[in-house]
């Protein structure tokens, strides 16, 4: 935001050259510098002092600003990263706008790297001159301020979303949790036991699910989807679509009568299609909210004429065929994206026969086969004929680490879950043979490698270092063609079942959501973080945070840590009364803007949009981070960065280069 500023011709600039003991003065003739600039247009006084940043030094600056009615100052001293804030504060105390302070770096980038006094002095003069040129053109600026709506939206009800929602709610803020499925729980609720401790997944997740559903500050919206989002950090407006469940959650008493009479049989998603459910169903016994849901896509027709059997038997009259899709609107200040992952399709790997042979399954299918609540009650049986498999082959890196035809990245969790699968299988079928084909075993994580070692040493799982080329069926056996690169032998194994460690990929359809949120993704469609090391749980787009596998492959401990970190970041945001933002952004000059839209494509933060009605660009200054890429690209000079305008840059160049 700009505040009234004097014209450059009327400006009174003060120059303060620092000796920094001998650090500067030992090489640069500081008096000469002060002297040389005395008569530069705009400079109304110049002086030098031994330590500018010392208390007396700062006091001198404050007093001089007041006495001489300075409109701007230049401190020629060390790097701005060191004391820019110090001198801005001093200026503020003297009643000067802090954006009128310029730091000329004559230490790190001059006296400390040169020994020729004459050259260093001349260079210092040029450096300072360039700042004078800039300073007379600086505007008074005020930080941009906005309010914050202290409510958060969490999208996705897997373990990450649940953790984030609980943490934010426990910080004392309201949370809206949107889950597209009939129940929360995500993928974790489908897992059997979890590495590295082998806790039963449901035992540790159900309490969290219940806590979420009972938390006074969490509004749980299952079977809902985000329809659109507008606004910006601190001030989002969200439209949320409620999909009709056709069963009143409050009335349904879980008697299950409807399910008994429903004639429609559908593959059960929770069991990965290894068993069946009805068109009216409860996803799994611990589902939250505890209610039946009528699946419109499979129901015979939502009308008593077509069927209506369920409605007839429902005593509490919970079933309502006339429910319609509705839209809810909410206002929130922050959005956490926790939409999780999916597995790569087995269809993409035709040579493994995953689509052709029932007994070639993916990791999640095997989780259900291992699970006590699964379709086989925890007894390992193969899907085709229910036999207990005596030889199971596990294939790692299915679709992962394949730069050429599939996905180049490592899915990170499959080494661990394959070890878990092999171990659990050996526990369940003690006379069974488990063979794992791997390229590398990657078990970085606390207690992870110990877990893998146990699988090999204690459970005698045979690990073969090589990739499988082909799986095919002969009679009722699956034949696996692999290789042991350690002995250089091509190997063939007869298996009763093959488990493919399919790569983790972005959630199916999530790109539509991310497009609505207008947040950036990486090339694989996972949500991109602001900085891989220093800002790993924030999106580049202000106000968006990320948690769990929406950001990339990870296990539960990591997903939960990230969720808590994202919640903490939301807490940071909400702890502020209002948001303030650097004003050195790039606005638009409506009169010069031709509406070409070039700058729009340059901006990594979506701060610039083309306003079709006005034919010019619209800048949301809250979103602009001030990189200046747009300013450099604008062919019309309509995009000028505050206090680093093209005019300022040109004038600095003149000051530096013209003899």
């Amino acid at each position: 935001m700009t505040v009234k500023t004097k014209k450059k011709e009327d400006k009174r600039i003060g120059l303060f050259v620092c000796h920094c003991g001998v650090n500067i003065a030992g090489v640069v003739d500081v008096k000469k510098v002060a002297e040389a600039l005395k008569d530069t247009p705009g400079v109304s006084m110049s002086t030098d002092y031994v330590y500018m940043c010392s208390d007396p030094g700062q006091q001198m600056i404050i007093d001089t600003i007041k006495e001489k009615h300075l409109d701007g100052i230049i401190v020629a001293a060390c790097s701005p990263t060191l004391h820019e804030k110090t001198f801005q504060e001093a200026a503020r105390l003297a009643g000067l706008n802090p954006y009128q302070i310029e730091i000329a770096n004559i230490r790190e980038q001059n006296s400390w790297v040169h020994s020729d006094k004459d050259k260093a002095t001349k260079k210092a003069v040029k450096i300072v001159k360039s700042h004078v040129a800039k300073a007379i053109r600086n505007e008074n600026l005020e930080p941009i301020k906005v309010d914050v709506k202290k409510r958060a939206l969490v999208i996705g009800g897997g373990v990450s979303g649940l953790q984030a929602a609980l943490d934010i709610a426990d910080h004392g803020y309201e949370v809206i949790l949107v889950e597209k499925n009939p129940s929360i729980g995500g993928k974790m609720i489908q897992l059997s036991e979890t590495f590295p401790t082998l806790d039963c997944s449901q035992c540790i997740l159900t309490p969290k699910m219940v806590e979420v559903s009972r938390h006074p500050r969490i509004k749980l919206l299952t079977y809902h989807e985000v329809d659109s989002v507008s606004g910006f950090i601190g001030n989002f407006k969200v439209r949320i679509k409620k999909k009709p469940r056709f069963v009143d959650e409050k009335l349904c008493n879980l008697c299950g009568e409807c399910e008994k009479v429903c004639p429609q049989i559908v593959p059960d998603e929770f069991n990965m299609g290894l068993s069946f459910r009805k068109a009216i169903y409860m996803p799994f016994p611990q589902a939250i909210p505890g209610t039946y849901t009528l699946d419109e896509d499979h129901c015979l027709g939502l009308s008593p004429v077509r069927c209506g059997k369920c409605k007839d038997v429902c005593e509490p009259r919970a079933i309502d065929f006339d429910m319609k899709e509705t839209i809810i609107e909410e206002e929130v200040g922050a959005i956490v994206v926790a939409t999780g992952y999916d597995l790569y399709t087995m269809q993409a790997l035709g040579e493994f026969g995953g689509e052709k042979y029932e007994d070639v399954v993916n990791g999640l299918e095997f989780e259900r086969i291992l699970s006590a609540s699964g379709p086989t009650g925890g007894v390992v049986r193969r899907p085709s004929d229910g036999k207990v498999p005596k030889s199971v082959v596990f294939v790692q890196c299915c679709g992962s680490r394949d730069t050429e035809k599939h996905l180049p990245y490592c899915s990170k969790i499959c080494c661990m879950y394959t070890a878990k699968h092999a171990m659990l299988y050996r526990h369940r079928v003690p006379d069974g043979q488990a063979t794992v084909f791997y390229i590398d075993v990657r078990t970085g994580g606390k207690a992870f490698d110990e877990f893998y070692q146990r699988t090999v040493e204690e459970d005698k799982v045979l690990y073969i270092r090589g990739k499988v080329s082909k799986v095919f069926k002969e009679g009722d056996k699956l034949i696996v063609w692999g290789v042991d690169t350690l002995t250089g032998k091509k190997v063939e194994i007869e298996a009763d079942m093959v488990v493919l460690a399919m790569a983790m990929v972005k959630t199916d359809g999530v790109q539509d959501l991310l497009k609505k949120l207008k947040i950036s993704t990486d090339i694989h469609g996972f949500v991109a973080e602001a900085h891989p090391k220093l800002r790993p749980v924030e999106s580049l787009n202000a106000g968006f945070f990320l948690a769990g596998c929406a950001h990339g492959p990870k296990d539960i401990p990591e997903a939960v840590s990230q969720a808590s970190a994202a919640a903490a970041k939301v807490g940071d945001l909400f702890a502020q009364k209002e948001l303030s933002h650097e004003p050195t952004v790039v606005p638009v000059n409506d009169e010069l803007c031709s509406g070409c839209g070039i700058c729009v494509t340059m901006c990594p933060y979506g701060a610039r949009t083309l306003d079709p009605s006005k034919g010019v660009v619209d800048v949301n200054e809250i979103l602009c981070e001030g990189c200046g890429a747009c300013a450099a690209a604008c062919p019309c000079g309509a995009a000028q960065q505050r206090n680093q305008t093209d005019d300022q840059i040109f004038s600095m160049l003149r000051a530096m280069l013209r003899e």
């Binding site: 790997l349 035709g350 082909k470 002969e474």
Partner: protein, 310 residues
Amino acid sequence: MKLHYYPGCTLKEKAVALDISTREAMKRLDVELVEPEGWTCCGAEYPLTEEKIVGLAAPIRVLRQVRDEGGEVLVTTCSFCFAVLKRANKALRDDPLKRKRINAFLRDDIQIDPLTKARTTDFEDYNGEVQVLHLLEYLRDRVGTPKIKSRLKRDLKGLAVAPYYGCRLLRPQEEMAFDEPDAPRVFEDFLEAVGCSAVDYAFKQECCGSYLSVSLPDAATEASYRVLRAAQMEGARAVTVTCPLCFYNMDSRQAAIKEKFLDFSGLPVLYFTQILAWALGVDREVLGLGEHAVPADSLFEEVPTTEVRT
């Protein structure tokens, strides 16, 4: 309609049945096949190192001839020829340097009369203008299943046939680019269009031993046995191929296979065009069944193929 067709040298001598059945069948689909004038052997193998690129001259000469005769498409049936022509064509399209080198090479070859040393014809650079299609691809994309179905004269009553792709037809995928190497459909779709049922088996894209048939006959015998047995185990009554070398390995080797692998009882091998021609009503005598080592006659007798009234 006229269509450029490259038979390749094997079809002119050892695999006459493939040539004849192709011509007869295409006639019944209103396509007249014309051979590019003065065509020569394509070289059979696509040169795989950068220094052997003169090997591209032969196939490119053929393609240039097709272009000069006004042809836009060239079809082949033999997988080896197909691979060489298609890959050479793509190499010329994609790589300006190869384009230059091969054209320079061919320019000498055409412009200078070896005797009089005089320039003869005007030469126009060949830049990959012609499209090379395998007949299966042509049938799928240009003729189309509905038309094939409408011309069928015999009902093959779902005869169980195992399609054999072998190694040259689909790989390398980036260059052959007309079906998925590990989950192909084109051959299956063809068989279903002519009234057979396509047998799904695990070895349809495994190599039959290829040219190692000569230097390492035992390995080829074993490789072919694996394919044949897998097809038979899935209930195939015959295996069908597109390539004379595949045919040789799977048909002529069956005596050796039977000697070595006692569980194998023999399985007729047919060119896909023989099935097509038969279904389109071509007389059995014309199909060249006499060339087969494993009699296929019985198959045509035993399977009750009824005439479809038209």
